[in-house]
Symmetry: C2
Subunit: 239 residues, 2 copies
Amino acid sequence: MSASDPAIVLVRPQLGENIGKAARAMLNFGLTDLRLVAPRDGWPNPDAGPAASGADIVLANARVFGSVADSVADCGFVYAATVRKRGLTKEIVGPEKAATDTRARPGRTAVLFGPERSGLETDDVACAQAILTVPVNPAFASLNLAQAVVLFAYEWSKAGVGEAATFDNYEGAAPQEELEGFIAQLFSGLDTAGYFARIKDRAPASRRMLRNMLTRPGFSANEVRTLRGVIRALTTRRV
Amino acid sequence: MSASDPAIVLVRPQLGENIGKAARAMLNFGLTDLRLVAPRDGWPNPDAGPAASGADIVLANARVFGSVADSVADCGFVYAATVRKRGLTKEIVGPEKAATDTRARPGRTAVLFGPERSGLETDDVACAQAILTVPVNPAFASLNLAQAVVLFAYEWSKAGVGEAATFDNYEGAAPQEELEGFIAQLFSGLDTAGYFARIKDRAPASRRMLRNMLTRPGFSANEVRTLRGVIRALTTRRV
């Protein structure tokens, strides 16, 4: 597993069988970094192994996290794989563009895939910089989890054959945990200022919108540090 | 279903569940022409419907054939999806090239997929003009049937978005039954001439090699007629 291999994150997966199938799909195209967020039936799951058809190394190395934010803490860019519109302003890309951009970008990329039945929640999607959508038949959009994983993995593998484009003068997005630290600092400052108390019922929507706006640009570590300095300056009382 | 939508041909599929999954994979990308060659458990199969997750129209319209040749009789170009080398001299393409060429080519294209456990037999592959291979991890090549179908269907759908390249001055390959008619005529002529009798044990391999050589070029209907005339001329005794 090289430093830039993308992570496949299954968010609250339901069936062990589908975790195994996703692992099999990944290894066919050389991906091995599988992460599980709160798998419904715990982990390890005895149904995963048989469905992986030999991709045991992927299952053995899979890591379990309690939250989406924790699962992508070391990642500089996060895609949310979803077919539904979420009312969030984010770039929407197909598997090919996601894969070529993943190759070109410094740092690690993660792709979030939601539970089999319901897909990602809006709060999960808000943690991502961009949305990954497979352009399917509008009259029959019914890709299963492993098929969605296989399409991204296939494009990622294909993108490695040619020479990838690169971003000029771009140091890459900050690790997600640095961005989260900044957002927490911001929210704390707003709480102290009574901002969320004043808007009452609209506070959850407001937090989500802020998180989304701040996640989308893919701020660099340097930019996040600057923003933290800004917030610190605004929230610290002068003596 | 437009005249140029490719046909997905499952050759001797074993499990009804996998036929249903293939149908589901197809319809996600707008493909509806499913053909089954000698399905192991007959047809219809009660396990197919639940696995199709609503792609019932594809199953309802599926047609069953007794042989690969019959299943592609109306097709001008046939791909054999296989990961294994077959010792046959044929073009090998990935899903993207197969899909864009399918869009560009006049006439109907078929893609043959083999049984789940064993894949296509060499005789099946000999019926195709070209081999479709997904470039997978050499250390773990384990795509399942529906995943192989979904990758071709995805690329076919994607290729429809942009403007496809076209072949100049190419009327398209003859329907496969016209080519088969020519091959049968040739073999009959060779039989009459004692050709196969003389080479004895090597006759089956010789037939296969000939079929392969003659299938690969994608002769047009006009070219096949010309070839038939040639064979007719060579095999008819002058009075």
